[in-house]
């Protein structure tokens, strides 16, 4: 029984990180109908910026907001200087569907190369904000540690903040309106372009948070968030790409399934599991767990 609970906790902690990355992808998808492969690149750049702050000030709590803000800024810049131009130029023909994929893949490579040029390919460590020593009950220490708790709690807070923004504020209304129907939103006086850029900035911040949360327990290198991108995307698709709840649930479904397969079936099946989970969900619900039918054919 304790084994099941432990596995569940590991899965929730890992899944939280996927949820954050998935949230970033969903925010961009909702605002501009683009699957942003550069999200991993934006996150790694923000994380490196956070790394610089940590090494200079030895203070994780200062690095966290710096990374978050630079993530938001990078996201906004990507929208203004790449996606807007792309939307104007590549808006028709068979390529229109894949042009954003290609452009953001290119951007991912570009950011990785720049990061490599500045910081090199060496592995870097990142100071732990809180201990990674598991909680102890009597004589047993469980795998779940304060750092995992921090990851889960931060994810919950981020999700709540975004829910409030989307459901309770004018900005949220504008964001939802521009995602639902840009034309009508524009007629209603919403500054659609600005609203979309804000969506990109939010996404950039969410990705950066994922980066600075996952890095202390691992290590930092120009490629260290690549797999997170794949997991985040799979989680987003599982969740249906449209809803914040979907992103959160998708991440948890993936994280928990992964933890259970690695624990009970085989610890070397890490990569195929994501595919199997995704196929299983999509065969039952082709538009993901929280996606509508309209969305799928859009």
């Amino acid at each position: 029984m304790s084994r099941i609970i432990n596995t569940l906790l590991i899965g929730i902690s890992g899944g939280s990180i996927y949820s954050l990355m998935s949230l970033a992808l969903v925010l961009v998808w909702r605002s501009t109908r683009v699957v942003n492969f550069a999200q991993a690149g934006q996150a790694i750049l923000s994380t490196y910026i956070g790394y610089v702050v940590v090494t200079h000030t030895d203070n994780y709590w200062l690095a966290f907001p710096v990374a978050l803000l630079s993530g938001a800024l990078i996201g906004a810049l990507v929208d203004i200087f790449l996606i807007r131009i792309l939307a104007r130029r590549a808006n028709s023909g068979p390529v229109a569907a894949i042009a954003p994929v290609i452009a953001t893949l290119g951007l991912l490579g570009l950011i990785r190369a720049i990061v490599g040029m500045i910081w090199g390919g060496d592995l870097r460590r990142f100071k732990l904000p809180v201990t990674n020593h598991g909680f102890t009950f009597g004589h047993t220490t469980i795998p779940f540690a304060p750092i995992n708790l921090l990851i889960v709690v931060t994810t919950v807070i981020v999700m709540l903040i975004f829910s409030v923004i989307f459901q309770r504020t004018n900005l949220g209304l504008a964001l939802r309106a521009s995602a639902f129907s840009p034309e009508i939103a524009r007629l209603a006086g919403v500054r659609v372009d600005l609203t979309r850029t804000i969506g990109w900035a939010f996404a950039g911040a969410a990705g950066a948070i994922a980066g600075v949360l996952v890095t202390p327990t691992n290590y930092l290198s120009p490629n260290s968030l690549d797999l997170l991108l794949v997991s985040g995307f799979v989680a987003a698709v599982i969740g249906g790409l449209e809803s914040l709840i979907g992103a959160a649930v998708g991440g948890l479904v993936l994280g928990i399934s992964l933890a259970f397969v690695l624990e009970y079936i085989s610890s070397s099946l890490a990569f195929p599991v994501a595919f199997v989970v995704l196929m299983a969900v999509l065969l039952i619900k082709p538009a993901g767990l929280f996606g509508g039918k309209r969305v799928r054919s859009a």
Partner: protein
């Protein structure tokens, strides 16, 4: 007033037209083959090897062009389908000692079969959902090779197409042999795709691509048509995988990374994803860019951190610029301007 031709006459004219185009096409391919043959005798061995790689990419890129450019589906997992083709070919070679052409056929069939299953499962998906599924496949599938002893694990299985026949002469190098096989396969597959695209199915795909609803109303079976495109595209990718393994003489999971799937999609976009003949442009660019940028990196100098990342930087920049300025490929862009 113009005299209208009877319908039967129109039909005959059309048939004649198609027949004439086919003859012209076939002649073109033959001349291309002869030109390649002559070229392979002039250039040095490195270029011959790179030519073989270009031919492999031509096959891989055409599979994406058929899928994305014509049937409007997206795949980020064609690297995994290439792996299936490669493993099928090498297993049929190593365990049953199949002759080389047959191993290629096995590669096509195995990948097509898998593609059909995947296409049926993913047939209901489109856009990002399909992209996500294929992406997960690209990451998940190759690592499975480490789970089964028969697949040789990370150290891989040797794929040996043997030495060139003696009748070709003593100076006929191994790479020239690879090039001949790959170039012949590329020509043949391009010819086959041309014909498929000109057939009823090709027209259905184009109809689907431009307007799925209208196509469905006209009686095109949307799902079946998409699965068919995915199946054929997968088979071609399987062939590309077998050819690629031939050029490196090895089948190993690490030869099919996620970056391979991305690379062939990139090549297809650089080629202009709607034009089959563009595949050669995309393939040449994929092979040439790393060499050009590496040469430039050496020329410019700088610290190793900078020079080792320069090729990646320039490749990515080129990719972004080409999507921004020639979203539908250089060819289509030109054609459009000519028309207007």
């Amino acid at each position: 007033m113009l005299k209208r031709k009877p319908a039967a006459q129109v039909q005959i004219d059309m048939d004649k037209n198609i027949a004439r185009r086919k003859i012209v096409g076939a002649t073109f391919f033959m001349f291309l083959g002869i030109a390649l043959f002559i070229a392979s005798n002039i250039v040095d061995e490195l270029r011959v090897y790179q030519g073989a790689t270009v031919a492999v990419y031509v096959v891989a890129i055409s599979s994406i062009i058929l899928l994305t450019g014509y049937s409007g589906q997206i795949s980020l997992g064609h690297g995994a389908l290439m792996a299936i083709g490669a493993y099928a070919a090498v297993l049929s070679r190593n365990y049953w000692n199949f002759p080389i052409p047959l191993t290629f056929a096995v590669a096509v069939l195995a990948a097509a079969l898998f593609g059909a299953l995947l296409g049926m499962a993913a047939g209901r998906l489109s856009g990002p959902y399909l992209a996500g599924t294929t992406l997960a496949l690209a990451v998940g599938l190759p690592s499975l090779a480490n789970q089964f002893k028969i697949l040789g694990g990370e150290e891989g299985l040797t794929y040996d197409v043997g030495f060139p026949p003696l009748s070709l002469g003593q100076d006929f190098t191994q790479y020239k042999w690879f090039f001949w096989i790959a170039a012949l396969a590329a020509l043949a597959i391009t010819w086959v795709i041309f014909n498929i695209l000109g057939s009823r199915y090709g027209r259905q795909w184009r109809a689907l691509r431009s307007n799925p609803t209208a196509a469905a109303l006209l009686g095109v079976h949307v799902a079946r048509s998409k699965v068919l495109a995915f199946t054929i595209s997968s088979g071609i990718a399987g062939l590309a995988g077998a050819l690629m393994s031939m050029t490196i003489s090895l089948v190993t999971p690490s030869a099919f990374p996620l970056s391979l799937s991305f690379a062939i999609v990139t090549g297809a976009v650089l080629a202009g994803v709607t034009l089959l003949t563009g595949s050669i442009v995309g393939a040449v660019v994929l092979v040439a860019i790393p060499e050009v940028t590496a040469a430039l990196a050496t020329h410019l100098g700088g610290s190793e951190k900078v020079t080792s990342n320069l090729p990646g930087l320039m490749m990515s920049t080129l990719l972004i610029l080409s999507v921004l300025f020639f979203p539908n490929g250089p060819q289509l862009h030109r054609r459009k301007t000519r028309k207007s």
